[in-house]
Amino acid sequence: MPAGTKWWSGGRSPFNASYGKVMMWYFLMSDAFTFGAFLISYGTIRFSVNNWADPNHVFNAFPFAGHANLPLAFVSLMTFILIFSSVTMVLAVHEGHKMNRKGVEKYMILTILGGIAFLSCQAWEWTHLITGDHAVLVNGQIEHWGTSMAKNPWGPEAVFNGQTVSTPGPIAFGGYFFGITGFHGFHVLSGVVINIIMYIKTKLGHFDERGHYEMIEKAGLYWHFVDLVWVFVFLCFYLV
């Protein structure tokens, strides 16, 4: 950095970044507050009730594993998929700095595939939760519930006619889980769409004409933010 640069006396950006990049940062900051508000609201409600669902009990399934009890396994897979797609994204940005179009194309494809893999995992997880059938004791009778915005079959266990069944848990569970992971999943989906557009623009040579790959950098900021949010969703919903 040139020593003694007068950043605030005009004639240059005090942030040493293009308008688009600064605005992308501000957008991500506001988005961080949105996600933060969601997660803190979830935490507040979770702290305020007595029998929140135990994540190790709710999220213990794995595709094709039947009823095997595998807590944390599937969500670890999803986490590693997203971390890996973050690495391929940062490698695409790196190739962009070197003006290597072929390299950018290769890593953008890998990033898009990572995003699609993550979304597929989430689709499976949601389907499993919504269609999963649990015996729940409601007003002295057994009902069969899946997890939804209106029904939480993950309350304290009880014994009914010699059978261990569940009781209704706090109703907020489904709303927070589907609301927040859905909002994150929608970010992943828009990230995949943005990355596909960036891939097409790379392929058409738009960035070579422009002389720089800054658009890849800005899409990369968004994609890393999606990974960053997942780190916190992973913490709040699955780990603790």
Binding site: W25, G155, A158, V231
Partner: protein
């Protein structure tokens, strides 16, 4: 760097040096993976010892997992998003507003906690416990917290 020669010169005073190799990126990938594996190990520890640990041990483990998560967030933002390579002015305009979260988290979680304490006293209405209580025929097996 010639690659950036067409960037607007009034916006960009200098370009941070992007070192030639990808060594740092892969290093951070392994750091993030290792932190995730430690988190998972602690999460599994909480699962395996479920119900047999003191409340303070459980909460401390969860706090450690939270700190590891913040460390992961730091590496993602600083290295993958290259915020660490930007000028101080840009770093500060992004990071300083986020300090609000410190108040935000403490205030709201404390509020939720006091709400629960109130629910469980006779002064509160105990709404949740009574509604969730199983029908008379059923015998509580003990709640799982």
């Amino acid at each position: 760097m010639s690659a950036h020669s067409s960037s607007s010169s009034s916006e960009i005073t200098f370009h941070p040096e992007h070192s030639g190799g990808t060594k740092r990126i892969w290093k951070i990938f392994w750091v993030l993976s290792a932190l995730t594996i430690i988190e998972l190990a602690l999460g599994y520890f909480l699962y395996a010892t479920h119900g047999s640990l003191a409340y303070t041990v459980v909460i401390s483990t969860k706090v450690v997992i939270g700190i590891l998560t913040l460390l992961k967030a730091y590496y993602i933002v600083s290295v993958f998003m290259h915020l660490g390579d930007e000028v101080r002015n840009l770093i500060m305009t992004i990071v300083v507003p986020l300090v609000l979260f410190v108040w935000f988290i403490i205030a709201f979680l404390a509020d939720g906690n006091s709400w629960k304490n109130l629910r469980n006293t006779n002064a509160g209405s105990k709404p949740y416990i009574e509604k969730a209580a199983p029908a008379p025929a059923a015998i509580e097996k003990g709640d799982k917290k």
